[in-house]
């Protein structure tokens, strides 16, 4: 009975989606005319923002306020997880076995390399595919590896919370500085520099470094809350 209702519901939703998609054939050039937003971003973003990666320009400058909201959603999810898992009951059963020597050595070898890769990706967010969100997730995956490989690993929560708050404040302060200097929130008021080099694109790299640190610290906090055994 329950699956029958589910299947009928799915048929209705699938039909609706198919009807919507029949209006937009796959691969058609839907941004051909000049008044479309995507066309404007592609034509004007390199001059207006100085960023070679148009997706980064859209995320950090054109839709920067939206990105601030997304970062807030992430923050609220992390706080919610911390609150839900606060003061868990002591778990029964044996403590986890320490990992083997090979696994521990491999983790110690790979952990700094993964952190460097994450930092590289969020530093070059305005030049190559990637950016603050992706780099932050890679940093957090390095900590996940360390947690899985070394059973007694524990992070210092204070430090991660401080990093997260400072990075979040840096994002807002960069936006406010744009308000003070140019008259609009998150305005790109700094010099654009040479196109397609590391020191270019004004405040975009600064904001992406802040986002990268914030996302990395936040997701590491999530992993720590989920994996640490209750005292």
């Amino acid at each position: 009975m329950r699956s029958l209702i589910a299947v009928i519901l799915l048929a209705v939703i699938g039909l609706g989606l198919a009807l919507c998609l029949s209006d937009m054939p796959f691969g058609a050039n839907h941004i051909a005319t000049a008044e479309k937003a995507g066309r404007h971003y592609l034509e004007k973003a390199p001059q207006e923002t100085g960023s070679a990666n148009v997706v980064t320009a859209v995320v950090v400058t054109y839709r920067g306020f939206d990105t601030l909201g997304e970062v807030t959603v992430l923050f609220i999810a992390a706080i919610g997880l911390g609150m839900v898992l606060y003061r868990r009951k002591k778990q029964e059963g044996k403590p986890p076995q320490p990992a083997s020597f090979v696994l521990q050595t491999g983790c110690c070898f790979l952990f700094p390399l993964i952190l460097i890769l994450g930092v590289y990706i969020f530093l070059h967010g305005h030049l190559t595919p990637g950016g603050g969100f992706q780099g932050g997730v890679i940093v957090a995956s390095g900590f996940l590896l360390a947690y899985i490989g070394c059973a007694d690993m524990k992070i210092r929560h204070r430090w991660f919370e401080a990093t997260e708050s400072l990075a979040g404040s840096a994002f807002v302060i960069a936006g406010m500085a744009g308000l003070a200097a140019g008259g609009s929130f998150l305005m790109n008021f700094m010099p654009k520099g040479n196109f397609n080099t590391l020191f270019s694109a004004g405040i975009i790299p600064i904001i992406y470094i802040a986002i990268g640190l914030k996302v990395g610290a936040e997701l590491t906090g999530l992993i720590a809350n989920l994996l640490e055994r209750a005292e």
Binding site: L10, A52, V137, N225
Partner: protein, 119 residues
């Protein structure tokens, strides 16, 4: 056959969305419901990216002086999905933490046996 081939990305995306919704509606185990949520979210991300694709377009990055704006795909859906993926991870973690709490409280993850979650 050529219809299937032309629209394979749309079909995969809608398929993922429908599979995820079916799991969320019909399964009893809370962990499976959360897996369904993850399927649903992946399907929506694939759908958005496929909707922004333009045939023959390259990634919207001016990494080379010869790149032309006319030969690039739409950057807007990519910018939306970029943040949505990370938010999805955080929402998944929140859902799993709620599942941990429910298991500690009720001793089961079966949604039919947890009285408050029956429908």
């Amino acid at each position: 056959m050529s219809f299937l081939f032309e629209n394979s990305y749309y079909i995969a995306a809608v398929g993922l969305i429908l599979i995820g919704l079916y799991i969320m509606a019909a399964k009893k185990n809370l962990i499976k419901v959360i897996i369904g949520l993850s399927f649903f979210e992946t399907g929506i991300n694939v759908l958005l990216i496929a909707a922004g694709y333009i045939r023959g377009g390259s990634a919207p990055i001016f990494s080379h002086p010869d790149m032309q704006a006319g030969k690039m795909v739409d950057p807007t859906p990519q910018a939306l999905v970029l943040t949505a993926i990370v938010i999805g991870v955080a929402v998944l973690a929140l859902a799993l933490s709620l599942a941990v709490r429910l298991y500690e409280h009720h001793g089961t993850l079966n949604l039919r046996k947890i009285r408050e979650l029956k429908w």
